[in-house]
């Protein structure tokens, strides 16, 4: 039996002459015919196991992609200058960009302040009602909502912008915004105690109105 030929024939990787020769062989070889039938049966059965990704997951992936500005067309004029001249020009541009515009003393002081530590949500711990009963790990919906919330926080958006740009968080997971914008929880009619400052979800006992709010 030509097991490899069966696979390569089925995947269309035999050239015309090889395929024709194998087809002639198939007519007289029951084992190869059976093998080829098995390859096709596995193909059909695997197809039946295929699943679409959840729509919320696809939407989250697409929402994360933000187009970059198109390349600056005038840079093409650097090409005739040659590599060395182009590099010198690019270096000059870089130095100018690094130096930037003059800053006020307040701006200079602000820029020297290190960014806040990323304490949320990577180390967030799901309370029992947000964890899978089977694995004990946070449910996928919980994790992806945390991702959105983190992105929201890092981008420094206010709550109104979040409503527009992160509808999944703003609508389906409003309490995350309450955590991200601790000074404006009232805007969402939420209790700031839903998440502790460390990003730890409180048990359902302490927030019974949230119980069961997250889908599995």
């Amino acid at each position: 039996m030509h097991e490899n030929r069966c696979l390569l024939y089925e995947s269309g990787e035999l050239d015309g002459a090889e395929a024709a020769e194998f087809e002639r062989h198939l007519k007289g070889c029951a084992e190869c015919r059976e093998r080829l039938a098995l390859v096709r049966r596995v193909h059909r059965a695997s197809g039946a196991l295929a699943e679409d990704a959840p729509r919320r997951l696809v939407a989250a992936v697409v929402a994360r992609a933000r187009p970059e500005p198109a390349a600056v067309p005038w840079l093409v004029f650097l090409r005739p200058l040659g590599l060395a001249a182009g590099a010198a020009f690019a270096a000059a541009l870089l130095m100018y960009a690094l130096r930037g515009t003059p800053r006020t003393p307040a701006e200079t002081e602000a820029s020297s302040v290190p960014p806040p530590p990323r304490t949320f949500p990577e180390r967030a711990v799901a309370a029992p009602e947000f964890a899978s009963a089977r694995t004990g790990r946070p449910r996928a919906a919980f994790r992806s909502a945390l991702d959105d919330a983190e992105e929201f926080r890092l981008r420094g958006l206010d709550a109104d912008a979040a409503r527009v740009q992160f509808p999944r968080v703003a609508v389906a997971r409003p309490r995350l915004i309450a955590d991200v914008v601790p000074d404006r929880p009232a805007a969402f009619g939420l209790s700031p105690a839903v998440f502790s400052p460390e990003g730890v979800a409180v048990p359902a006992v302490a927030a019974p109105h949230l119980s069961g709010a997250l889908p599995d």
């Binding site: 390859v39 059965a45 295929a50 699943e51 679409d52 959840p54 696809v58 992609a65």
Partner: protein, 178 residues
């Protein structure tokens, strides 16, 4: 627009990225569920597309978009295993018992469902090397030559792994209770 053009455009054109994701979402998701398990698949799915987006400008258009996408998904799964120290097989629970519920069915359809679950469990039980080849062929629709290049193994090795996998899956396809 073909896949190569979509990948090359997706950094500057969100519609191109959306089209690419829609075109491949079921295949990538199915690949990840069967390779890494349902628990890890959602995170890996998001990471895969993030990586695709970040690296799209490095993609060389040679008509091998599927190879490139599935290589990313496969590498991320390997990293996931390395980081988490988790097992490299998918439990039967992950693979079969939580297949999406379908509407009530007549006897024949129930048998088909049993067979489907049986096959999922058999795939989950395959050694990871065989499972990678099988899933790249079935969901990536990649040629064996592409699979061999993607996994950096000889063509003969890719073919023999597939043959071993087929041998093990034969029982599940013949007897749903195997």
């Amino acid at each position: 627009m073909d896949d190569d053009a979509l990948i090359q455009a997706c950094r500057t054109d969100s519609e191109a990225f959306r089209t690419l994701v829609e075109r491949y979402q079921a295949r990538i998701y199915s690949f990840l569920i069967r390779l890494a398990g349902r628990d890890a698949a959602e995170d890996l799915f998001q990471e895969t597309w993030l990586k695709v987006y970040e690296n799209a400008h490095r993609y060389e258009a040679r008509g091998k978009a599927a190879s490139w996408l599935f290589k990313i998904a496969n590498n991320l799964t390997r990293n996931h295993w390395a980081k988490s120290g988790r097992r490299k097989f998918v439990s039967a629970d992950d693979a079969a018992e939580r297949l999406p519920d379908r509407a009530p069915q007549p006897h024949a359809a129930l048998e088909q469902e049993e067979s489907r679950k049986g096959l999922a469990a058999q795939i989950a039980a395959l050694p990871v090397e065989q499972r990678q080849v099988l899933l790249m062929r079935e969901y990536g629709q990649m040629s064996f030559k592409e699979i061999a290049e993607t996994l950096d193994i000889p063509l003969g090795t890719a073919l023999s792994r597939m043959n071993y996998a087929l041998g093990k899956l034969r029982n599940a396809l013949e007897d749903p209770h195997a």
